[in-house]
Amino acid sequence: MSGGPLLFLGVLATTALSFWTLVIAPAFQLGRQDLVEAGAGRYPTGRSGLAQRGADVYRSMGCVECHTQQVRPRGYGSDFARGWGERRTVAQDYLRDRPVLLGNLRIGPDLANIGARQPDPKWHFEHLYDPKRRVPGSTMPAYRFLFERRSAGGGLPEDAWVEGEYEIIPTPEAHALVAYLLSLQSQVSLPEAPLPQSLTNAPPADAGTNAPAGDTNTPAAATNPPAPAK
């Protein structure tokens, strides 16, 4: 091979090809996407201000390092058998997220539908404070810095609990994070990803975060209060 110009043009051409295929073409395809009428209103529904702030906490804590937020198609892996979702997730589900934290490592379970699988805020607060308390054997790090510890006495705020002689009070960040986790649900039937006919939107009553649907013998599920019916 001789000459820099030829080399430069060749490299330019290959890069332009990949840029057009992988950046410009998807931009045309996905750029037209907009909210759709599905379920109770326009989907995806917006998050509350608190949950939106929680999304920021989720990003800044790097939860994406260990948790995905995507359910793979039926028949591909056992995401459905684990009860991680009732349909696969599609591009429409993430239209409002910024950044979209799909994740690429599942050291912990998938969280695409954690709000539906575990709708109890109290469970989330205790789990964040000390994961082993709710999920024995969990390898998740504890997030005690999201809580304030102070001597017992005085009125106990909502969502706080007493541990020994201390009160454990969630900080605003913890409240925001849990509000975000509860908002994570992609259970609306879409034309490109319909919900199975036989199933409803309601989560299985006994779904612990780590438990496959229907298994009542896991420790996580055993300590759960029954999920309120939707």
């Binding site: 992988l22 998807p26 804590m61 591909y76 056992s78």
Partner: protein, 492 residues
């Protein structure tokens, strides 16, 4: 124009009708200031990043270890470690190796030293701010693009400066013929500029909506590792393999074939990991097809090396650089094969989202890229500083520790990943029960990280002892010069 600190008279570079060859030692000396800076700060970043990595993996043994410190929570320490190792060590050391190889092959002195040094300062300053930003909660959440906006912007300025200097320097080369290493390096300069600016624009400054972000992110991350860093690694191997064995490259045509297939296909191969994700299905399919085709450049490059090496494998062991280059070449072939295997849908159904993917990345980053860079560094530094390594035995020890460390990390993560694939991705056992034994196997990689750290300590000690000697020598010269004593050539 002549900015070398060597005592030889400046040559009339452009006036001479027939260009004389510049002696190698003079080219080496001209590279000294920016390269020593890049290599030194690269080694420090590697150490810092590996310490972060160690902290992150310790959290898996004791989950409550840093429960009261938001700065050291695993979700922040891991991206900080990645950023420090990738941008602080790999990319920065690659700048140094790239400039030196380009100067040597083009038979031209390194120019623009002040600009290159300033660019190095900006790069390290922006990166420091970015890593502290991640620890304070400023991570963007995008894989391999976690550094906050302000850091990326500063690093882009530094990169643009380095790239412009490198390309201009290349343009002024005296040896016009191009060697395969130069193809890879020039293309690498171009690829990084394009993808880094496009990713910054589309993820930070004019953010796109929805999963389009993830497509851009996947394109960027795969270009950074599988094209940019891989190109520099390949350039180093293509440069040193013929040099150390004193044999010509087996086939230039084969190399060209490997290069162009690599350039055309590698950028698409990274999309294979999106194949079951919530993105348009054709993107994943393009990725799967491309990652299959990657077997063509992989085989042509590997065959070229193998035929160049011939029966001269022993010659590699004679030098300090040889073993590193040899292991880098093997890691490239193994890592490339793993990437192709993981691309098949039947396999990715199992290996997606597992430690197996991480094993492939760590092999590419530490087994291939870092090994090649160390090989280059151990060859280049003594020549540009004109000093011997203070402890040559530590170079060998560094190689042994690194080889063992990378092997342990690869095997433990691969084992854990395959197990994770069958128990979590395919199986339906309760999640905690399924992951318990996997965490133990993956935890073994901590021993590998410790070995890497030990190797880095040796490299740091060697490098900074050499720097200390160089500065003592300079001071001795300065004193002699001021006092008027003519003792040029005395050693410190």
């Amino acid at each position: 124009m002549n900015v070398t600190p060597t005592p030889s008279p400046p040559e009339a570079v452009s006036a001479a009708p027939v260009l004389e060859r510049i002696p190698a030692s003079e080219i080496d000396a001209s590279c000294r200031p920016p390269l020593m800076f890049y290599f030194g700060s690269g080694l420090v970043w590697l150490f810092v990043g590996t310490v972060f990595w160690l902290i992150a993996s310790m959290t898996f043994y004791v989950p409550a270890l840093f429960a009261d410190t938001s700065w050291l929570t695993v979700g922040r320490v891991r991206p900080a470690a990645t950023s420090a190792i990738v941008y602080g060590f790999a990319v920065q050391t690659a700048f140094g190796a790239l400039l030196w190889i380009m100067c040597r092959l083009g038979n031209v002195r390194l120019l623009f030293l002040p600009a290159l040094c300033v660019a190095g300062f900006i790069w390290n300053l922006a990166l420091t701010a970015g890593v502290l930003g991640i620890l304070a909660g400023g991570s963007t959440g995008f894989e391999w693009f976690e550094l906050p906006k302000y850091a990326s912007a500063g690093m882009f300025v530094a990169y643009a400066l380095i790239a412009v200097c490198a390309v201009t320097n290349f343009h002024l080369r005296r040896d016009r013929a191009l060697f395969p290493s130069q193809w890879y390096l020039l293309a690498a300069l171009f690829w990084f500029a394009w993808t880094f600016s496009a990713a910054g624009l589309l993820l930070h400054f004019a953010p796109v909506r929805g999963v389009f972000q993830n497509i851009v992110n996947a394109w960027y991350a795969s270009t950074l590792l599988d094209m940019w860093l891989t190109s520099v690694g390949l350039a180093i191997i293509f440069y040193f393999l013929p040099k150390l064995t004193a044999r010509p490259l087996y086939s230039s045509t084969l190399a060209a074939f490997g290069f162009w297939t690599f350039a055309a296909v590698a950028q698409f191969a990274g999309m294979a990991r999106l194949s079951a994700g919530p993105v348009p299905a054709w993107i994943g399919s393009v990725g799967v097809a491309a990652s299959g085709i990657m077997v063509v450049p992989l085989i042509s490059v590997a065959a070229n090396w193998y035929l160049t090496l011939g029966d001269r494998a022993q010659a590699l062991k004679q030098s300090e650089t040889g073993p590193f280059v040899w292991l880098a070449a093997i890691s490239y072939v193994v890592g490339g094969a793993l990437q192709i295997i993981f691309g098949f849908r039947e396999v990715s159904e199992i290996t997606d989202f597992t430690y197996a993917e991480l094993a492939r990345t760590q092999l590419a980053l530490h087994g291939f890229v870092a090994m090649a860079l160390f090989g280059g560094l151990y060859y280049i530094v003594p020549r540009i500083s004109q000093l011997e390594w203070p402890a040559p035995r530590h170079v060998r020890l560094h190689f042994t520790l690194y080889a063992a460390g990378v092997a342990i990390i690869l095997l433990s993560l691969l084992g854990a990943g395959v197990m994770q694939g069958f128990r979590v991705n395919k199986g339906t056992v309760d999640f905690v029960t399924a992951t318990k034994p996997i965490a133990h196997i993956a935890g073994l990689s901590t021993f590998g990280v410790l070995l890497l750290l030990a190797g880095q300590v040796l490299a740091l000690k060697n490098f900074f002892t050499l720097c200390h000697r160089a500065s003592e020598q300079t001071r001795a010269y300065a004193i002699d010069f001021i006092t008027g004593r003519e003792t040029v050539g005395r050693s410190a």
